[in-house]
Point group: C2
Chain length 343, copies 2
Amino acid sequence: MARARTSSGKVRLTEVAKLAGVSPITASRFFRNPEALSPGKRERVENAARQLGYVPDLAARALASRRTEVIGVLIPSFTNNVFSDVLRGIYDGSGESRYSIQLVNTHYSILQEEKLLRLFKAQRPAGLVVTGINQTDESRAILESMNCPIVQIMELGPDPVDMMVGFSHNAAAFEVISHLIGLNFKRIGFLGARMDPRVQRRLEGYTDAMKRASLYDPRLIITTPVPTSVTMGGTLFADLLMKAPDIDAVFCVNDDLALGTLFECQRRQIQVPEDIAIVGFNDLDYMASAVPPLSSVRTNRYDMGKTAIAMVMDAIEGKRPATPVVDLGYELMIRRSSAPRRA
Amino acid sequence: MARARTSSGKVRLTEVAKLAGVSPITASRFFRNPEALSPGKRERVENAARQLGYVPDLAARALASRRTEVIGVLIPSFTNNVFSDVLRGIYDGSGESRYSIQLVNTHYSILQEEKLLRLFKAQRPAGLVVTGINQTDESRAILESMNCPIVQIMELGPDPVDMMVGFSHNAAAFEVISHLIGLNFKRIGFLGARMDPRVQRRLEGYTDAMKRASLYDPRLIITTPVPTSVTMGGTLFADLLMKAPDIDAVFCVNDDLALGTLFECQRRQIQVPEDIAIVGFNDLDYMASAVPPLSSVRTNRYDMGKTAIAMVMDAIEGKRPATPVVDLGYELMIRRSSAPRRA
DNA sequence: CAATGCAGTGGTAGCGCTGTCAATAATCAT
DNA sequence: ATGATTATTGACAGCGCTACCACTGCATTG
């Protein structure tokens, strides 16, 4: 016997089909591929669904179709401004689509990442967005066995699991240092916190540029595994001043450190850029407002999220991108904090 | 006929049960309520599950049990630092639990919120976290019909849907202004951006305090519906200076505006706090580092997220909190930017 | 004009799990 | 020792939807 409406008052597909005078299968098709219906039935189903306020049951759909409409997103931190922009892009890009985002935090741990990937695999996500290219071998194997579109974001590398959206942190840092060297700065300090893989690559870019100009000196490099903050910027800078009092410029791996450095300079009456130049990374809003305005590297974080999720969604629907690796680039924003040095 | 292992190679509960020598139902119970099994079978099922690498199929579980282990979270913005802290609390608090977070962005639109609530309702979430207390009547009705624990966060109000975690924005602003008035500041400006309900309440607190001291003057209030940013802080402050050149203090509804104001003061050679005092709101990390250190209102954003999600999870499991409304309070962080006025 | 193709539609049979309730075994009170 | 109660377990019948395949009727083809 046909079941009456379910106890929870939920409208089922069967009821929609009955009202529209079609079979449940036809009604089901309407929601998945309306083009397949004849215009008449399409309209009838549409009206019936609206009239009854029908909303498909995702659990039943997932069970019956053996796939979900969930896109998993693994990011290493919520604290970081960088990721909040990426996330905004991801959520904006997926907001009106049928896909929902399942967000998890790896806390910068590749073991945690591996564990989360295992969990994701069991739920057969429709697609996946993972941060970075430094997965464990095991994680890599899981990713390759997942049989769904995957985008690695934040950076680029030689061997994508599937697709990639990012930019070269190494090249960006190299360019920053080259810019400073071109302006005749010689004792250029490096401040780094957290030291995740992206930050490591910026350090490599710094090191390459300094060595190439024969300016490399390990005493100029101050790093800490501790998470980044404005306060930490001041602390690291103070440390740098102690170890290398003759510095004439500082490259900070992110803008928080740069702002902390600026404040520390103000506190010590150090003139920026006359005494010391400052360059940050990411170009957050406040860099242009600071006094003096702080140079930085503009990165396309929002676009990165938006592009990545669009690529995943397209790939799920069979539209593979022409180029699986997208370089979103970066832009040096030169401001007064790294103005040319007086002679 | 009993199905062989599913094509995708997925291990089903049936296989676990067979290996353990129990019925599927008993195996199922092991995952939901291990206490109900006799110790012997419990161990047998546990071993079998581990041996086969069994992971339950959440879609099937949701369909069969007519409920999910998804907690919906509605927030109005990803851009805002405030919400990234709240989210961190929510994700940290739920990370090791069985529940997963389904995050959606209302973009500060109560209509969007209503639409999203309708969607959530159809998916029968186990619990819900919603931002604020300004829902539409329709949203309110949906919430009340949802039959799951619900926590409203960010602020407090007289008529909770279910539970609440927040603090009084009105009281916090009132206290800030009282503090400034007590320090003999008289022409206290108000800078507000975005003007969401929480910010409106801060404006009310400001207005109350100013009126009570007979210092109220609408020309001191500068607001914009545009989203907040450090740059916007400078712009609004410039506007305020034009309209009320005699101000001696500024209360900014958030720290970004306060930082922008500080930079604008630096640009114009206005001494803080000698010429103009500044107080922000939220006490982000950089407030204490700034030069001079900026006063602010410390809010417990991370705890708010963590408390809210804990309350929801407990309530789902039948442990209703003793007090459904939790006031997390705030703390005035008085720093040099609002130092006592010279006589 | 029969053979062929194909868009449109429907029937059957589950997807993997759990709610419900009945059945059994073990324990208890009288 | 008897019936009553409790702990443990299992059988059945779906949850709401869709994959798969078969079928219809109409247009196209040689």
